[in-house]
């Protein structure tokens, strides 16, 4: 069986504005793919094309081997979607909406529905007008995970959830993954994607700028280290991959490329570590690095 979802050279124009420029994306069966990028990068646009709500200007997008535009209804029977901004009819209760969503999707398990409502600590008897953003998101999540869809398309699904509920959400994703289902998870927070995803695709200004496993992308990331050692780390600046070093006596603050981390740690250990703090790379760091690289490449070609 081939890929569940394939996107080839997908472009979308809004008037003169190019929201997507030749985007490529793939989700294999049983895979969780992270789709990350800053706000306005084109994640939602891509997803709305995948759902047949927007028509692509050019390119090809298929889910389950079918065209996302012309076979939308057939595809949607086997797919669950959670938007980032969940809009609900104010006069219906959460319970009513979940039932309606499950019926319209075409499949679903009542027992699973009730279990999920309990896990997400949702009160389904309230009118949806009284729900906070997080609660509205829970409605969409419960409706999605209670169905037996084969593909889950989640567009920033946790932006209103508190950390505890984010944990429940991550468990849900892990469970559907264990059942061999596929997930496309969009986010602008790298750490969220990191925990769940087998692969990530990074989009910026409508272009996929990187894609691969997180390990493959490690070379792009730097870790911020703060160290205090018994003897001053005088040779630190000679290591390849160490950047932005600030040193005062035995203390140092610097960034190190992920693939050079081992060598640097060995060196620091030899000096006798008193204190060591590390901050994981953020999406912003990733972009920063990316800017520098493309900037460097550009200046090279210009030269």
């Amino acid at each position: 069986m081939g890929a569940i979802l394939t996107v080839r050279d997908l472009s979308k124009q809004f008037g003169h504005f190019s929201a997507l420029k030749k985007v490529n994306l793939e989700v294999e069966p049983g895979e969780v793919v992270g789709f990350i990028g800053p706000n306005g990068a084109g994640k939602s646009t891509t997803i709305r094309i995948l759902l047949g709500m927007l028509q692509a200007t050019s390119g090809d997008a298929r889910i389950f081997g079918r065209d996302v535009w012309s076979d939308a209804v057939e595809i949607h029977k086997r797919l669950a979607y959670v938007p980032g901004d969940v809009n609900l009819w104010p006069n219906l209760t959460g319970g009513e909406i979940i039932d309606l969503f499950m019926r319209l999707q075409g499949s679903g398990d009542r027992a699973q529905r009730d279990r999920l409502i309990a896990r997400f600590e949702l009160d389904p008897g309230k009118k949806s007008r009284t729900y906070s953003k997080g609660n509205r998101q829970k409605i969409a999540l419960v409706s999605a995970f209670a169905t037996d869809a084969e593909l889950f398309i989640l567009d920033e699904p946790t932006s209103g959830l508190d950390p505890l509920m984010e944990r429940v959400f991550q468990e849900c994703v892990e469970e559907v993954k264990a059942q061999g289902k596929s997930v496309l998870l969009s986010s602008h927070i790298l750490s969220e994607v990191e925990r769940l995803c087998d692969r990530v695709a990074i989009i910026r200004e409508g272009e996929i700028i990187e894609s691969g496993t997180l390990n493959e992308l490690r070379h792009l990331t730097r870790i911020l280290l703060r160290s205090e050692t018994v003897s001053p780390p005088e040779q630190l600046e000679t290591f390849p991959g160490v950047h932005d070093l600030e040193r005062s006596g035995s203390r140092a603050v610097f960034q190190v490329d992920s693939d050079q981390l081992g060598a640097v740690m060995n060196y620091l250990a030899g000096l006798g570590i008193l204190k060591l703090e590390s901050t994981p790379p953020t999406l912003e760091d990733l972009f920063m690095r990316r800017y520098e690289q493309s900037g460097a490449k550009r200046s090279e070609t210009e030269r």
Partner: protein, 536 residues
């Protein structure tokens, strides 16, 4: 401790200013619309019935219990001056409209805001406990005061001899006082119920109950009418006896209701109410579980309101036939002037004029229903259906079909109302068949309007507002085109003018079938656009 009592109202002036600014357009529409309508009617009545005999003939028809039940009694049926006629025909209905305005605004600013969480935000911003209901009540005091003045001055300024300023001010004051009373009642209900919907239902139910009660009392023992607060409007007998007592009663009751509302508000928590709260449904009923069920549920309130409105409009128009009939019968000279049997013609002409009006009216709920397809899209609600296995075709055709059904139902209800009152008030009433055929012959035109709406939704969804303008144009041209002396070319632009004027003209199938066919083509063309356009 007067200080702490004052603190409960802290921030009220600021809130009041904010509310007035926020509401100014809505208030202008309500007050201006009501006043202009009243002034226009007074002016028109003066012109239509200039002589005492004509007015007396009309008064004769208003003695029947059916008419008393609908528009209320009058003490002046034996000396029916223009002023008496105006107050009799207009007071109760205008008071109803003013009461509804008060209820809607009051509910929105009290329980409605509370439900949306706005009140909690205000209280957090160190605004006193009673500032929210206090500001809303003050606003309604200003609004009703202004309404009273505008009516009083406007009606007095027409210069009709039997409508002096002093009586006109009483007329306005009666409307304002009754309005304020219902604002206060809504404020009280807002403390009892926990939802805006519940508050609205209770308030409107009270208004409806008063209307029905007074209809029963007025036809049997009118003196008991003094016990019904809604009757205080026409018990002022403006332009005849000029009683101010009912106005004072209404103001007194308003004060009591306001005190009760403020007291209940001060002893309850934000979000809480005093009536037992019905827990919401944990599961959907089977009837909700389809796009059709959802559409029905979302539009239910709108449909019921319009259904009642269409029925009442039919009833009121039907009752006018009786007046016309008696007017002709009582007017021997007029009867001699017209060729024999032409009284029937006049009735038929009047009927065909009414049917156009009803058709335009019936198009309003149909279009409102159709345009939900667009407003739901704008609010991002359609994503919920779309991303599941509901096709664009299903949604589009569902809304077109639903709108058509709404329109037809509206016309049926109006026909039923029309038939009911004209049958009981005319000597030679129209048959059921003629009434229903006359009204329902406009179904194709209604479908045409829906077709244009569908076309707009499919291709130019941001321009759907234009169709309302077209409908307004149709109303003006078809209702008053002859008065305005419009050229034929302009009159032909309205679809309603292409419907054969049954029963004045003979029944014809052909134009109706053509219009229907065009409507179907328009819907199909609309779908062609809807199918391929981006969803917001």
């Amino acid at each position: 401790m007067p200080n702490s009592k004052l603190r409960a109202f802290a921030g009220m002036p600021m809130l009041l200013r904010f509310r007035l600014r926020q509401d100014r357009f809505k208030l202008l529409c309500w007050i201006g619309g009501l006043a202009l309508f009243s002034i226009g009617v007074a002016y028109a009545l003066d012109g239509l019935f200039p002589s005492a005999e004509e007015r007396q003939a009309l008064a004769q028809t208003l003695r029947s219990p059916a008419m008393v039940a609908i528009i209320g009694p009058s003490d002046a049926l034996n000396a029916y001056t223009t002023g008496a006629m105006f107050a009799h025909r207009m007071m109760l209905f205008t008071a109803l409209a003013v009461a509804i305005m008060n209820i809607l605004i009051m509910n929105g600013h009290t329980r409605g805001d509370e439900e949306d969480g706005k009140v909690e935000m205000l209280r957090a911003a160190s605004i006193g406990r009673l500032a929210v209901p206090g500001a809303a009540l003050l606003e309604m005091l200003l609004v009703n005061g202004l309404l009273a003045l505008v009516h009083g001055i406007g009606l007095g300024a027409i210069g009709i001899a039997t409508m002096p300023f002093s009586s006109s001010l009483l007329y306005g004051a009666a409307l304002g006082a009754v309005g304020l009373m219902f604002a206060a009642a809504a404020a009280l209900f807002a403390q009892l119920s926990t939802s805006g919907r519940g508050t609205l239902t209770l308030s409107l139910a009270l208004l409806g109950a008063y209307y029905v009660l007074r209809a029963m009392i007025d036809t049997r023992s009118p003196e008991l009418s003094w016990f019904i607060p809604l009757s205080w409007s026409y018990l002022t007998d403006a332009y005849v006896l000029d009683r101010w007592l009912p106005v004072l009663l209404a103001l007194g009751l308003s004060v009591l209701l306001v005190l009760a509302a403020l007291w209940l508000n001060s002893i309850r928590d934000v979000g809480a109410g005093f009536l037992p709260q019905r827990g919401g449904r944990l599961h959907a009923r089977r009837s909700l579980l389809s796009p059709f069920g959802l559409t029905l549920r979302l539009q239910r309130t709108m449909l019921i309101s319009w259904g009642i409105a269409m029925l009442v409009i039919g009833l009121v128009y039907g009752s006018v036939f009786g007046s016309l009939d008696e007017f002709m019968a009582g007017n021997a000279s007029l009867e001699r002037l017209l060729p024999p049997g032409s009284a029937g013609d006049l009735n038929a002409q009047f009927l065909s004029l009414l049917t156009v009006v009803l058709a335009v009216m019936g198009s309003i709920p149909a279009l409102t229903s159709l345009f939900r397809l667009k407003s739901e899209e704008n609010r991002g609600m359609l994503d919920n259906l779309w991303s599941r296995s509901v096709s664009r075709r299903h949604l589009f055709l569902l809304h077109c079909g639903f709108a058509a059904a709404v329109g037809v139902l509206a016309l049926l209800l109006a026909s039923a109302g029309l038939y009911g009152t004209q049958a009981s008030s005319m000597d030679h009433p129209f048959t059921v068949g003629i009434i229903f055929c006359a009204v329902l012959s406009y179904i194709p035109a209604l479908l045409f309007v829906i077709g244009v709406g569908a076309l707009l939704i499919g291709w130019l969804p941001h321009l759907t507002g234009l169709l309302w303008l077209y409908l307004a144009y149709c109303f003006i041209t078809d209702y008053m085109g002859d008065l305005l002396n419009l050229p034929d070319g302009l009159k032909k632009l309205t679809i309603f003018s292409h419907v054969p004027k049954f029963p004045v003209d003979a029944w014809q199938w052909q134009p109706l079938l053509w219009i229907t066919l065009i409507a179907v083509v328009l819907v199909a063309a609309g779908y062609a656009g809807y199918r391929r356009r981006d969803m917001r």
